[in-house]
């Protein structure tokens, strides 16, 4: 199919529009020098290919399609390109191409999606080919200028040499000639063996650190544009409710107020010169809500709805082998437990925001987004303009964690800018949510319960396991069209039989894992770690229960069930051995220290953790040390993997210990960090990361470890107290010795 936008924009026009776009950004946003603005640095220098621009002054601009939200992908992808490019790492900067350019160029950068720990593992092959193709063209340009065979030329750190004639040149000197060459066929390129890497795989410092220590990093909330107005917004606190009316006249004379704008049928925004004035006016705005059909829903109703699912006849099967009914019927003894996992919110430190500028001819959006193309599609739809007249500029994210894969805030910003454009066409409007809006208009970690039943024989061996999950489907909220026969496959993360993405690490003689979908009215979303988080709590804590019920060592029981899963087992063993499993942990300040284990496979990587905790006589929990092992296959930047593993325990332990959203009168009760506590430095344990990369595959890093944080600690709590915590978060549940 002919792409009309591609036809309209050839490569030369892209270069021109890129430079012009950069110029606009450069004029308005001098502080945007990092990230986006390397584009302005590229100026009129022709690219070697979509991934690489080499400037005459030897600077190398690597184009990064995925978003940087703290996870280090920007640096990792640049390392992979630079590895194949053979350039001088000290010359490397990065820029984001735009989704509009991607569309115009037949998606030359492929996906912009940044979620599911996929940033590097999904794109590593083609970004490396991009770097290699540019290297080949640069060397060819030099060889042709010297009239020597390409094969006789070598390159190191951007310096090309021909030993036979003792000639040398540099990438910057041949960049113009290289840009005119026909690129090699990507499939013909032989990539380097990772064993020979000199930049990739190394513990390099991040490229985006300095600006994050001096206030210079420009996040979406910091954007400055000429004539910029600011908007604050309030959506109906009860999901599914609507605005009946509002009294704009009541606030019209408040300082700075420009306009009160209805947004869709459920929200109202106040536009003012500054955000503080907009927010103050919004707080004073009388709004009459129609709370709708869900205004009477309480948390207890949702819990009861899920509880019913635990024994429902209808359920979608995720994993099955053997005859579970027969195994349980014939069991000498059964172990049974019911667990629950609450709603949780992302609470990115930077609240949701987007800036939009609308004229009848063009709509531009500046947004921190995990999916530039989804933000672009939302812009096209909300503006009503053709795609060729829309553009999205990405900024580094002040946290994402899955929340910024959504486009609700982009649609709102465009709707507001379009409304403002009736009086003031082309006036940019920055929409910034309050923290209260952020917490009450989330796309929440889905709520589930799980009933686990294990059948045991006379020797205490597990003969069968039934794991019934009841609760919410994320896809039912975000992509209902992808649910088939009532089954959301994402529900079974970490529990699948094979597939390479999220596989169970145990073999049982009989197994049934099924899901009774129960969808309350609260919107669900992808929350860092997603369904692997609660699934790993359920399975790993329950296996710990089985081990204790049968007087087996939790590690020994696992080893026996993991015989057919050597990669899972190797990582578990690595964590257990480093922690010293089998020997008593040394006391800390007179308190006995106890250990707990957990392991899983998710986002393509194998992870395990051993937690060391103590619990005082008064029931006070201290988490002293975590040993965490990871096998992500190949490692691109080990010190960044360590940073992700450490951070995963802040996220995962906060979730296990404190984080919970509850529903009252159809709305989320928690509005800010005073009622939705986040783990802080005094609660953060030491984390020792053990990297055991086995090569041969590419696994994710940003998410999988989160899932082992909670069960490792909960199992250690049981060892310390005899108390089995089955309802998360721990919250105020007593930990005094049982």
């Amino acid at each position: 199919m002919k792409n009309p936008i591609k036809a309209a924009l050839n490569r030369r026009e892209f270069m021109a529009s890129s430079a012009a776009g950069a110029l606009v950004v450069g004029m308005h946003l001098p502080a945007l020098a990092q990230g986006v603005a390397a584009g302005s640095a590229a100026g009129t220098t022709p690219e070697i290919n979509a991934w690489v621009v080499v400037q005459p002054d030897e600077k190398v601009i690597v184009r990064i399609a995925r978003s940087e939200m703290g996870q280090g992908t920007l640096t990792g992808l640049a390392q992979l390109v630079a590895e194949e490019l053979e350039c001088d790492w000290a010359q490397v900067t990065t820029e984001y191409p735009t989704p509009g350019q991607n569309l115009a160029r037949d998606r030359v950068w492929r996906s912009f999606g940044t979620g599911g720990s996929r940033g590097i593992r999904d794109s590593q092959d083609y970004v490396r080919r991009g770097g290699a193709a540019a290297r080949i063209m640069l060397i060819q340009a030099a060889a042709e200028s010297w009239g020597v065979p390409v094969a006789d030329c070598t390159v190191a750190k951007g310096v090309i040499s021909h030993a036979g004639s003792n000639r040398r040149t540099s990438y910057g000197k041949v960049t113009g000639a290289a840009a005119k060459l026909t690129p090699p066929v990507a499939a013909s390129i032989t990539l380097k063996d990772p064993k020979t890497w000199t930049l990739a795989g190394k513990r390099l410092a991040r490229l985006d650190t300095v600006e994050k220590t001096n206030g210079a990093q420009v996040y979406g909330t910091d954007l400055k544009l000429p004539g910029l107005l600011n908007a604050a917004i309030k959506d109906c606190p009860v999901f599914g409710g609507k605005v009946r009316s509002f009294n704009a006249a009541a606030i019209a004379r408040m300082p700075g107020v420009k306009k009160v704008v209805p947004v869709g049928d459920s929200a109202v925004a106040v536009v003012a010169d500054t955000w503080w004035r907009a927010k103050k006016a919004l707080d004073a705005l009388p709004i009459d809500w129609d709370f709708g059909a869900h205004a009477g829903v309480q948390q207890a109703d949702i819990n009861a709805m899920l509880k019913a699912g635990l024994s429902a006849e209808q359920a979608a099967v995720g994993n099955r082998n053997g005859d579970i009914q027969a195994a349980l019927a014939g069991a000498v003894r059964k172990v049974e437990a019911v667990y629950s996992y609450p709603y949780q919110t992302h609470a990115t430190m930077e609240v949701m925001n987007a800036t939009a500028r609308y004229t009848p001819q063009r709509c531009e959006v500046w947004a921190p987004t995990q999916n530039g193309e989804a933000a672009f599609a939302a812009t096209v739809e909300a503006s009503g303009l053709p795609a060729a007249q829309c553009e999205v500029y990405k900024l580094h994210l002040g946290g994402g964690f899955g929340r910024r894969g959504g486009t609700d805030y982009v649609r709102q910003a465009v709707a507001i800018a379009k409304d403002i454009a009736k009086e003031l066409p082309g006036t940019p409007v920055k929409l910034t949510w309050s923290r209260e809006e952020d917490m009450t208009q989330g796309r929440y970690h889905p709520i589930t319960q799980c009933k686990l039943t294990a059948g045991l024989d006379a020797q205490g061996q597990v003969t069968g396991l039934h794991m019934r999950i009841s609760g919410q489907s994320i896809l039912a909220t975000v992509a209902p069209q992808s649910i088939r026969d009532g089954k959301d496959p994402v529900v079974f993360q970490g529990l699948n039989d094979g597939g390479g993405e999220s596989m169970i690490g145990y073999t049982f003689p009989a197994l049934l894992i099924d899901h009774a979908m129960r969808n309350p009215h609260v919107p669900a979303g992808f929350w860092r770690g997603v369904n692997l988080n609660q699934n790993t709590v359920y399975l790993e804590c329950f296996l710990d229960e089985v081990a204790h019920a049968t007087n087996q060592d939790p590690l020994a029981l696992r080893r026996q069930l993991m015989a057919k899963h050597p990669k899972h087992l190797a990582v578990l063993n690595a964590a257990a051995e480093r922690a010293g499993w089998g020997q008593p942990a040394p006391d800390v300040k007179g308190q006995k220290v106890f250990r707990g284990l957990a392991q899983c496979h998710g986002f393509g990587a194998y992870v395990a953790a051993c937690a060391e905790v103590s619990v005082s006589a008064a029931g006070e929990l201290k988490i002293h040390r975590i040993v965490a092992a990871t096998d992500p296959g190949h490692t691109v930047n080990p010190q960044q993997i360590e940073a992700q593993v450490e951070g995963s325990f802040a996220y995962g332990l906060g979730a296990a210990l404190y984080e919970q959203c509850t529903v009252k009168d159809g709305r989320i009760e928690q509005q800010n960090f005073d009622t939705y506590p986040i783990l802080r430095i005094h609660q953060m344990p030491k984390v020792e990361t053990v990297l055991v990369p086995s090569g041969g595959f590419w696994g994710g890093v940003g998410e999988p470890t989160i899932a082992v944080a909670a069960p490792a600690v909960l199992n250690a709590i049981f060892a310390a107290t005899g108390r089995r915590i089955r309802d998360l978060p721990l919250g105020t549940q007593s930990l005094k010795k049982a």
Partner: protein, 165 residues
């Protein structure tokens, strides 16, 4: 016109007296390094110094800051990002998303001024800022590195000198 002394300069603003200092800094004076995170003094992303003491600027009405008082923001912590803590932050690759780090640095700078060699418990008590990425252990390591005068906290990160932008 009301005045504020920020980073050594006396600046005018037009904010209403009850406007939190945070929003005067960000929206009237263009100093966006100080961040909004919660608006209720919970997260610390908005931390600045007033006469050297750390304050949560999101709940401090601008009218409560006298013109003679010295406000310091992340942009004024050092002339060119060379405060020992900023250098240690870079050496330890502390930030991930980075959004909370201005507040972290301002809180840590005030702590070290007060207690040049803080204990772990003193770090815990002072550094109540929220970091959603979970950089806490590197924050602690960087503070301790400055406090003890060590060259590195042992994270073994390879730094390459980048050419001038």
């Amino acid at each position: 016109m009301p005045k504020l002394n920020v980073n050594g300069k006396v600046l005018d603003h037009t904010a209403e007296p009850d406007t939190p200092l945070l929003w005067v800094l960000r929206e009237q004076l263009g100093l966006t390094g100080t961040k909004y995170g919660c608006g209720v003094a919970q997260c610390g992303a908005c931390t600045v110094h007033v006469d050297g003491r750390p304050v949560r600027s999101c709940v401090l009405p601008v009218s409560a800051v006298r013109p003679a008082q010295k406000v310091t923001t992340i942009e004024g912590l050092s002339p060119d990002g060379n405060h020992p803590l900023q250098k240690a932050w870079v050496q330890n690759d502390v930030p991930q998303c980075g959004y909370c780090q201005s507040g972290m640095l301002m809180t840590a700078a005030a702590l070290l001024k007060d207690k040049p060699k803080p204990t772990d418990a003193e770090i815990d008590a002072a550094m109540t800022n929220i970091c959603r990425c979970g950089t806490y252990n590197r924050v602690r390591a960087a503070i301790q590195q400055v406090a003890t005068g060590q060259k590195s906290a042992g994270l073994d990160i390879v730094h390459v000198v980048r050419s001038a932008a």
